[in-house]
C-alpha cells in the first residue's frame, strides 16, 4: 500500500477510511445517520460547541488529566522512561466520559430527548448515565446479560444515576448483542432518540466524532510531554477494545514520523486458542454494526464472541480507522493475554499505588515486556485510561480470594 500524505485526513465523503468504515445500516436508520452527520458538521465548525465542551471537560470531568512519570515502574523495568496519561482520574473513572459529554451536547443541539447506549464493562454505560443525569434526559442502557452479572457494581451505579439498564438475552447475550439491541431500539424510536455509541465504531460519522472527542487525550499529551521533556515521545501505547482511548491518544501524533505507535489487543487465553478478543491480530475484514473492519468471525462470516478477562475489551470488532492504520502500517498492533494483564495489574498497584483497570493493564503488560530492552533516553507514554475499582472482584476471583459483600 502506498503511503498517504497524511494519516490524519480522516474519512472520504462517504465515510470510508480506505476500504474500512462506511454506512452499512438499514434504510430506516440511514436518514437518521445522515442527520447526525449534518448536525456534527455544523457543530464541529462552531466555536461555541467546543467552548461548551471544553468548559465541561475542565470543570466537570476534571481535565486536563495529568501526565505522570512512573518513576518506580521505570526503575523496576530498567529501560525507557514510562509516563502514564492519567485518564483514570477523570470523573467516573475512565476516558469514556470525554465522548459521552461530546455526544450529549450534539444530541441536545439536535433536539433529541431520549438517550440510548450499549455497554460491556459498564464504564460507557455509567458515563452515559452520568451525562444524562447532568442534562436531565432519560437514559436506557443495553447490556448483555452475562455482563449484567459480571459487572454488578456498575449496573447499580447506572441505576442510581437514574438510567434504566435493559439486560440483553438475544443472540449470545454479550456486548455485540447489546449493540444490536441498541440499534433495534433506535430503528424503533427514530423521532426522539439519540444513540450514544461508546467507541470509535459503528456507521459513519460515529468513528469520526468519537475520535474527535477523545483526541483531547493526545492533544494534552503533546503539550504536557513538551513541558516535561522538551520533545515529543518516542513511543505511544494504549489498549484496544473498540479502540477509542487508543485513537484519542494516537490521532494527534499520526503525522509525527518519529513517534512509534502501538495498540494492544486482548489475547484472552492466547491467540492460538479460540478464547481471545484480538480482532486486528486474529480476525479478518468483514461488515458488522454499520462498518467494515476487522472482525472475529467464522470462515462463513458468522460473528464469534470474543473472550477477555476484561469486559471492556471483548468486542468482536474494532474501529475502522484502526483497521486502516493497521493495513497502512502506521500503527503496530500486538496483544497481551489475561494472565499477563493480571500480572501487570498487580505490578502497577504495588509499585505505583495506582490500581489500573484491567483494560489498560493489557497495555501495561506489553510495556513491561518491551521496556527493559529499550534505551534509557527513550520516552514512552501509556494511556492509563481507566481505574481498577470496578475490577477488584474479577481480580480477586482469579487470584483465588473470596470476597464477601458482593
Amino acid at each position: 500500500m502506498s503511503k498517504p500524505n497524511t494519516f490524519r485526513a480522516g474519512v472520504d465523503e462517504d465515510g470510508h477510511f480506505g476500504i474500512y468504515g462506511g454506512r452499512y445500516v438499514a434504510e430506516t436508520l440511514m436518514p437518521l445517520i445522515l442527520d447526525v452527520e449534518k448536525a456534527y458538521d455544523i457543530a464541529r465548525a462552531d466555536d461555541s460547541f467546543w467552548s461548551e465542551f471544553n468548559d465541561l471537560m475542565k470543570h466537570y470531568v476534571g481535565r486536563p488529566s495529568p501526565l505522570y512519570f512512573a518513576k518506580r515502574l521505570t526503575e523496576h523495568l530498567g529501560g525507557a522512561k514510562v509516563y502514564f496519561k492519567r485518564d483514570e482520574l477523570n470523573h467516573t473513572g475512565a476516558h469514556k466520559i470525554n465522548n459521552t459529554v461530546g455526544q450529549i451536547l450534539l444530541a441536545r443541539r439536535m433536539g433529541k430527548t431520549r438517550i440510548i447506549a450499549e455497554t460491556g464493562a459498564g464504564q460507557h454505560g455509567v458515563a452515559t448515565a452520568t451525562v444524562c443525569a447532568l442534562f436531565g434526559l432519560p437514559c436506557i442502557v443495553y447490556m448483555g446479560e452475562t455482563d449484567v452479572e459480571r459487572q454488578a457494581p456498575n449496573v447499580f451505579r447506572m441505576k442510581l444515576l437514574g438510567a434504566e439498564v435493559r439486560p440483553v438475552t438475544s443472540g449470545t447475550g454479550t456486548l455485540k448483542d447489546a449493540m444490536n439491541e441498541a440499534l433495534r431500539d433506535w430503528v424503533s424510536n427514530v423521532e426522539d432518540t439519540f444513540y450514544i455509541i461508546g467507541t470509535v465504531a459503528g456507521p459513519h460519522p460515529y468513528p469520526t466524532l468519537v475520535r474527535d472527542f477523545q483526541s483531547i487525550i493526545g492533544e494534552e499529551v503533546r503539550e504536557q510531554i513538551q513541558e516535561a521533556e522538551g520533545r515529543l515521545p518516542d513511543i505511544l501505547v494504549a489498549c484496544l477494545g473498540g479502540g477509542s482511548n487508543a485513537m484519542g491518544l494516537f490521532h494527534p501524533f499520526l503525522d509525527d514520523e518519529g513517534v512509534r505507535i502501538i495498540g494492544v489487543e486482548a489475547a484472552g487465553l492466547g491467540l492460538d486458542t479460540d478464547k481471545h478478543c484480538a480482532s486486528l491480530t486474529g480476525g479478518k475484514p468483514g461488515v458488522l454494526h454499520g462498518n467494515r473492519t476487522y472482525l472475529l468471525q467464522t470462515s462463513e462470516g458468522q460473528i464469534i464472541d470474543g473472550h477477555s478477562i476484561s469486559a471492556g475489551l471483548d468486542y468482536p470488532g474494532i474501529g475502522p480507522e484502526h483497521a486502516w492504520l493497521k493495513d497502512t502500517g502506521r500503527v503496530e498492533y500486538v496483544s497481551a493475554t489475561d494472565s499477563e494483564a493480571l500480572e501487570a495489574f498487580q505490578l502497577c498497584t504495588r509499585l505505583e499505588g495506582i490500581i489500573p483497570a484491567l483494560e489498560p493493564s493489557h497495555a501495561l503488560a506489553y510495556v513491561a515486556k518491551v521496556v527493559p530492552a529499550m534505551e534509557k533516553e527513550t520516552l514512552l507514554v501509556m494511556n492509563m485510561c481507566g481505574r481498577g475499582d470496578k475490577d477488584i472482584f474479577t481480580v480477586a476471583k482469579h487470584l483465588g480470594v473470596e470476597m464477601k459483600g458482593e
Partner: protein
C-alpha cells in the same frame, strides 16, 4: 430479457391481484425440513419466495427471526447450502421467483463475484441485503444488476421525498416498503398510513411496491393487497416453525397458514 420477478408481476397484473411474498429462514429448523417447506410454498400460494440467509447478528430483525437464524446456523446451514437448495428447488419449479434476503457479511466473506455467478447459476432471481443502503451500493448492488439479477431496495417511513429518488434510482424487480419504523415481528402499520407511503413511492418509480413488516393475519394481508402490489409475510411463519420445531407435520402447519394468507391476498380486490 425479463427476470422471473418481472414475469411474475406481469402475470399478477393480468390477474388483477397482488402477490403473496413469504419469508422463511433457510435451514430452519434444519436443512432437510427447511427444504421440504421451501418446496411446498408455491402450491400453498406463495407467489414470490424470500429465503432468509442466516446471519448471527441480524440488527434489523426482531427476536423471532434472529432465533431462527441461530437455529439454522446451529443445524449447519450456510450460504453455499442455501444456493444448493435453490438449485434443487429449480429442478422442480422454474417459475416462482426466489429472492435471497440477509446481511452483507456472509456474502462478502463468500466473495461478491463468485457469489453472484453461483447464485445466478443456481437460479436465484434477486437480493435484499438489509445493511446495503444506496450509499453502499457500488460493491454488490450494482454488479448484481449488471449480472442480470434484481437488487431490491428498501424504503422506510423515514425515507422522505428528497431521498426517495436516490433510493429507487437503481432499483429493479420491485421496491420493498418497510411499513414501520421498527424491527420485524413487532407491530403493524395502519392501512391508511401504508396507502399514503405507497402512493408517494409510486411517484418516483414504475416498479411494483411490496409491503412488509408486521403482517400476521389473513385480514392484514388482504388490506395490504388492496393497496400494494405485494404483501410480505415473515415473522408469523417463522413463529410457526419455532413453535413446532420437532413436529413431523411442521411443513403442513406452515402451508396451512400460507394458504390462508394467500386466500386473503387473492380475494382482496
Amino acid at each position: 430479457m425479463s427476470t422471473r420477478i418481472e414475469r411474475r408481476f406481469k402475470s399478477l397484473q393480468d390477474e388483477n391481484r397482488a402477490g403473496l411474498v413469504t419469508f422463511l429462514t433457510a435451514g430452519d429448523p434444519n436443512p432437510e425440513v427447511g427444504f421440504d417447506i421451501l418446496k411446498g410454498l408455491p402450491a400453498a400460494g406463495a407467489d414470490i419466495i424470500e429465503i432468509g440467509v442466516p446471519f448471527s447478528d441480524p440488527m434489523a430483525d426482531g427476536p423471532a427471526i434472529q432465533a431462527s437464524s441461530l437455529r439454522a446456523i446451529k443445524a449447519g446451514m450456510n450460504l453455499a447450502k442455501v444456493l444448493e437448495s435453490v438449485r434443487d428447488f429449480r429442478k422442480i419449479d422454474d417459475v416462482t421467483p426466489i429472492v435471497l434476503m440477509g446481511y452483507f457479511n456472509p456474502i462478502y466473506i463468500y466473495g461478491v463475484d463468485k457469489f453472484l455467478s453461483d447464485a445466478k447459476a443456481a437460479g436465484v432471481d434477486g437480493f435484499i441485503v438489509v445493511d446495503l443502503p444506496p450509499e453502499e451500493e457500488t460493491e454488490f448492488c450494482l454488479p448484481a444488476r449488471e449480472a442480470g439479477l434484481n437488487f431490491i431496495y428498501l424504503t422506510a417511513p423515514t425515507t422522505d421525498e428528497r431521498r426517495l429518488p436516490r433510493v429507487v434510482k437503481h432499483a429493479s424487480g420491485f421496491v420493498y416498503f418497510v411499513s414501520i419504523t421498527g424491527i420485524t415481528g413487532t407491530f403493524a402499520a395502519s392501512a391508511s398510513d401504508v396507502e399514503g407511503h405507497v402512493a408517494r413511492i409510486k411517484k418516483f418509480t414504475h416498479l411494483p411496491v411490496c409491503v412488509g413488516f408486521g403482517i400476521r393475519t389473513r385480514e392484514q394481508a388482504a388490506e395490504i393487497a388492496r393497496i400494494a402490489d405485494g404483501a410480505v409475510v415473515g415473522s408469523v411463519l417463522v413463529d410457526i416453525v419455532a413453535a413446532n420445531v420437532d413436529l413431523p407435520s411442521l411443513p403442513e402447519k406452515v402451508f396451512e397458514l400460507v394458504r390462508c394468507l394467500a386466500d386473503g391476498v387473492r380475494l382482496a380486490r
